[in-house]
Symmetry: C2
Subunit: 318 residues, 2 copies
């Protein structure tokens, strides 16, 4: 009998359904914020988003099914014992995060962040020219589940969409031009909006640095909804102060929470949201996560294809 520790916020009905579906398991339940190292040491299988530091490379843990899309905190040496199977829930957050990035893009294009600042001071004043996605060129860096959703939305409202990814593939119908991440410098000067949705890996670390920002179009917008390590915060602040960027928005930062007094908090043309675009905020997201997690649990226990297994060497799914 396998010990399964579940850290998803499930109600009693769902817990009971799980016990009935998997009689070969002994389930225990806790929360992402409240679980302990002792609970993890007892687990053969863990489902949810545990604190990496509490796992201690447990030899007992056979399978960690994350409730997140990103797996970067768990591929680092010493977190999981060699041979532990790691899977993510790529696919569950596409809509939620893609829409958040899309909403942020419109917020910045229409200067709604500046008008919100003015509202707090009861200022009825004109902030000047605004932008649009109609006819604009949008560069999406990373065409996974989230990037694809964002690309679809931009295309639907009239943007020309360029997508870049690690490896060549057929061009999806919601992308006008498909390129490789290695060709970024060719595409950056063309884009009115650049949106990065990259996982946190060695290769994506500070991909957006001073050099990349300098290649961007004057007056363009930078959006980041992947990992906070994808951009150099000092370089971004500089590109917002002295150009070429008109504005930027991110849902993630390299250090979270963003430290007090950090320039990204303060710059008027920078919008920061506190890593909330994923999570369970969009109704339906938790259900999609449960579906993927428990289908993988079934495949792991009874044989079948486990989806979204993470390759420890790249940090991406295999």
């Amino acid at each position: 009998m396998k010990n399964v520790l579940v850290l998803l916020p499930l109600n009693e009905e769902k817990k009971q359904a799980l016990r009935e579906r998997f009689p070969e398991c002994r389930f225990s339940f806790d929360g992402e914020k409240t679980h302990t190292a002792a609970q993890i040491r007892e687990a053969d299988i863990l489902i949810g988003f545990p604190k990496p530091a509490l796992i201690g490379a447990s030899e007992r843990l056979e399978f960690l099914q994350l409730s997140s899309s990103g797996a970067d905190a768990f591929v680092k040496p010493g977190v999981l014992a060699p041979g532990t199977l790691l899977a993510s829930v790529t696919g569950a957050y596409g809509q939620a995060v893609g829409e958040h990035a899309f909403a942020m893009t419109w917020e910045l294009l229409k200067k709604l962040h500046l008008y919100r600042d003015d509202q707090a001071k009861e200022i009825w004043g004109d902030r000047g020219t605004v932008g649009t996605l109609r006819g604009a060129t949008v560069l999406v860096v990373g065409l996974g589940d989230i990037g694809s959703e964002y690309a679809r939305l931009c295309k639907a409202v009239g943007a020309r969409v360029i997508g870049v990814k690690r490896r060549p593939s057929a061009c999806p119908d919601y992308v006008d031009e498909l390129g490789l991440t290695d060709e970024l410098e060719r595409y950056l000067p063309q884009a009115d909006v650049v949106c990065t949705v990259l996982p946190g890996t060695d290769k994506t670390y500070h991909l957006f640095n001073a050099e990349r920002f300098a290649q961007m179009k004057p007056g363009s917008i930078f959006i980041n909804c992947g990992r906070g390590t994808a951009f150099d915060a000092d370089a971004l602040a500089e590109a917002l102060r002295n150009g070429p960027l008109a504005a930027a928005g991110t849902d993630v930062t390299e250090v979270e929470p963003l430290p007090a007094g950090h320039p990204l908090w303060k710059l008027e043309n920078m919008v920061v949201t506190p890593h909330i675009s994923g999570g369970f905020h969009l109704p339906g997201t938790l259900e999609r996560i449960e579906e993927i997690c428990f289908a993988n649990l079934e495949a792991f226990l009874r044989g079948g294809e486990i989806r979204n297994i993470i390759d420890f060497s790249t940090g991406y799914k295999k």
Copy 2:
């Protein structure tokens, strides 16, 4: 020779082109904020958005071609002499205002206004559940140029769109269900988002009052980008404080600028922008306005169909 006073922000090149295109006119140029009553008294034709109080029902003025979509300030008794021809530029602002309303809708759905407030205080905190337009029901009240553009955008990102208008017509392809403004109470309880884009007329005055807001769905969003007279501000504030509304956004208010200390400035779940969604903020808008204005000038001078003539009895174009 006709005296034509133009209040559009034209550069020298465009002024010269006008003189060449219309040799039968004597042009003078000024701005919307700087023109005087004396200038208006000399004009046979006026193009732009004059201050209504300065017109003084000038007997000399034959044709007022507005640079605005709304004509409500000019159909009031005593503003124009009887017989003065009045035309608007319906069509020029559809994209700009429709997109602004769309951006505001996403801002409220994703709580970006609250996260912006938090950013000012350097608060890294979770604001809970968010919404989406995918699968949501959007009710568009007023299907003119702006309402149609908003409807198209919502439909493109997956919403079910209900449109209501004054008079029956064929259902456009970007609307799923078409009804009449008189049937509002049938549609209000179904809508996750209600967007009103109505001109300021006797019939639309405080159309959204306490009764209408009470008919709306709990947790729904109200957006207004037509005229500030379309809703009762006290009733809206009450619906935001005690439900059923989750949030609201408006680009226009009954009194502009919105008076200091007004509840709409202060309510956390209310977003106000200072009547900037139209104007010349979106590049391309001024060019569209010029096109309509000068095509109408040509039709007026040389014969031809004048577009967007305003009916003084309804306040709508004929």
